[in-house]
Symmetry: C2
């Protein structure tokens, strides 16, 4: 029983304007006739709508394409550049940011290294530098910012506070949403990084087109992100996907099989240890293979639990260890095959390190879409 509001004539115009914007966002520049055909409106009506959208600044004319038969047609395009979205990935060692236009087309990316145990201010400063860098690279100013979406490790509250973060000690307890709202004069969204990665994979990556996706962040810490019915599933308390907390799922200590393997050279930094084991396994080293086997044994238990609960179309493997997906995928598939009712597709991430920022951009773009296409407010003029 959603909205009980009946429509005015102006409501109809609004609907048609939004339909036109949608059509223009979906395809490149379109002529008036093409636009009319797609929206089902007559040409004269379409013209009127287009004029109004031009006046409001949502749409602009581009030069007609030459070399066609007949009189050259006007072409219109959505002014995706009239604002920008920023996605931020706040990790332990790096703060990444990406800037996109309103269509989610990425225009600039930056990275700022930061130490895991850096004090709070330092990390916030890194965020500021990362975002400023993107703005500078793309020749924008903070006034062009419509939305900043940030993903970070740790368990969040629904309001955007950080309930707990193992990877970033200074993070726990912080009201990140409030801090970012102080820094940026625009809409601010906070989400868990694995969830954003999941979204990116579902939109642009390995799981493109799938409505129900389980994303596994395999790395020194396990994490997951769920896409259900095409949307990020965060749960009532924003704590969905935390199956790593269940001992029986055997995820918590699983990475230790790789980190503690005897093929890892003495004195290796903890974040590099698993890489040696995975590399050795790829070369057929029996001890490393056994370690990978034990790792996948454990990994498969929690994964099977998620698959059995949700029956997703696809499982995507991301995170640090997924660079060695060639070593992990086959044994993981084999175990899941035995454990699952219906075997989902299992794929490796195709987006790599930029996964989270892209997901953040997609998250921001989704939010914008919802605001645009489901609100009852009339279209406002764009500066």
């Amino acid at each position: 029983m959603a909205d009980l509001r009946g429509g005015d004539l102006s409501r109809l115009r609004q609907l048609n304007s939004l339909t036109a914007i949608r059509a223009l966002r979906g395809a490149g520049p379109l002529t008036l006739s093409a636009l009319a055909e797609r929206t089902g409106l007559s040409r004269p009506s379409m013209k009127e709508v287009a004029d109004e959208l031009m006046e409001l600044g949502w749409v602009e004319e581009v030069p007609p394409s030459p070399g066609t038969m007949g009189r050259p047609a006007r072409r219109y395009r959505f002014r995706a550049d009239s604002g920008c979205l920023v996605g931020v990935d706040i990790g332990g060692h790096n703060v990444r940011a990406a800037l996109s236009d309103l269509d989610g087309e990425i225009l600039a990316e930056t990275r700022q290294p930061v130490l895991p145990d850096a004090p709070l201010e330092e990390r916030l400063a890194a965020i500021d530098r990362a975002v400023s860098g993107c703005l500078a690279l793309s020749g924008r100013s903070a006034a062009d910012l419509w939305t900043v979406a940030a993903g970070t490790t740790g368990v969040l509250t629904p309001e955007g506070r950080i309930a707990f973060s193992a990877a970033i000690p200074a993070w726990t307890g912080l009201d990140l949403a409030a801090k970012l709202r102080e820094m940026f004069p625009c809409q601010v969204l906070i989400e868990n990084d694995s969830r954003l990665a999941a979204l990116a994979e579902a939109r642009r990556g390995a799981a493109q087109g799938a409505r129900d996706v389980v994303f596994l962040h395999v790395g020194r810490r396990m994490g997951t992100g769920l896409i259900i019915d095409g949307k990020v599933h965060r749960g009532f308390g924003a704590a969905a996907g935390e199956i790593v907390m269940l001992p029986e799922a055997r995820w918590y200590d699983a990475p230790e099989h790789l980190n503690g393997c005897e093929v890892v050279p003495e004195g290796t930094a903890p974040e590099d240890a698993a890489g040696y084991t995975l590399a050795a396994a790829r070369d057929g080293h029996p001890v490393a293979l056994a370690a990978v086997d034990r790792y996948v044994d454990d990994l498969a238990v929690g994964t099977a639990a998620m698959v059995l609960v949700l029956d997703p179309q696809m499982v995507v493997l991301g995170g640090g260890f997924s660079r060695s997906a060639d070593v992990l995928l086959a044994p993981l598939r084999e175990r899941l095959e035995r454990a699952c009712m219906r075997m989902p597709e299992v794929r490796a991430s195709t987006l790599g390190d930029e996964c989270v920022v892209m997901g953040a951009i997609d998250y921001a773009a989704d939010h914008l879409d919802r605001e645009l296409f489901t609100s009852d407010a009339p279209l406002t003029p764009l500066r």
Copy 2:
């Protein structure tokens, strides 16, 4: 990027007609002025819409309510009685059916006993008798049927075939949807019984108002139903919620703790065994209490897995054993409290045996709503 179709004037009228229907379905009979206020339309426009809906048969006039100041106002109501929905629960020992009007208001219920190992034809005949009984009780004919929604035990395929049913041997492999379409000349929907029970609890029962619900069917066989974002979650292959298949979740053999307890008298029918244990536990019998403890220990593992994955607002306990929820709830809560990131509310089902048929009715009503309110087809006249 849903629909790119722009609107005509008639589209506006259609929108307003649907809004009016929606308003009338939500509240009882409404006067023209009340209707106009709720939909935001002006009175004259509302009148025109109402006239049209009357002509098409969707709405009818009821006598004005007496005793009011001023000139008595016309009142209109949605003709919920111009069709009916039937929900069917096909279980091992019983086939239940309920008949409702188009608003989901239940008008008749029937039950047909049937043996678990009865041949296929016998069970289908029981379904026919159960539905016919409902029609007779409410004075309807098969021609009034708009939708039949059936819930049954077992694993389904997305198309409504029965992939596997442990409780009803003759069921496995049956194309239930096709069979029911032969029997009833209307829309036929098939769903897993636990999912329908979950829907009923979310709409009318213990979890009313919650958008994300985990329903546990606790009984001789474990089953689950998930409501995510207010809708039944069936998964890509309609196999969601089958965590009982995961040995580590410790669900599969859990009921044995109750069935095999030594307080159960020799020679008790297997379906009654657990009842003795639960009753003895309620009386404080130490052996029974220990059995219940072991049962809940196991139950909590799989439940914690689902809660950690989904972070639902609520967990509802239904199924045969939930009649003894007083014995089970406290220890279950205690274990979940320790295992879960965010503790959900845990409640007992309030709908009892009629849970599945009610869920089936709600499922059918949802389907009808979607057809009505999201289709672009104009309103058709009702007979």
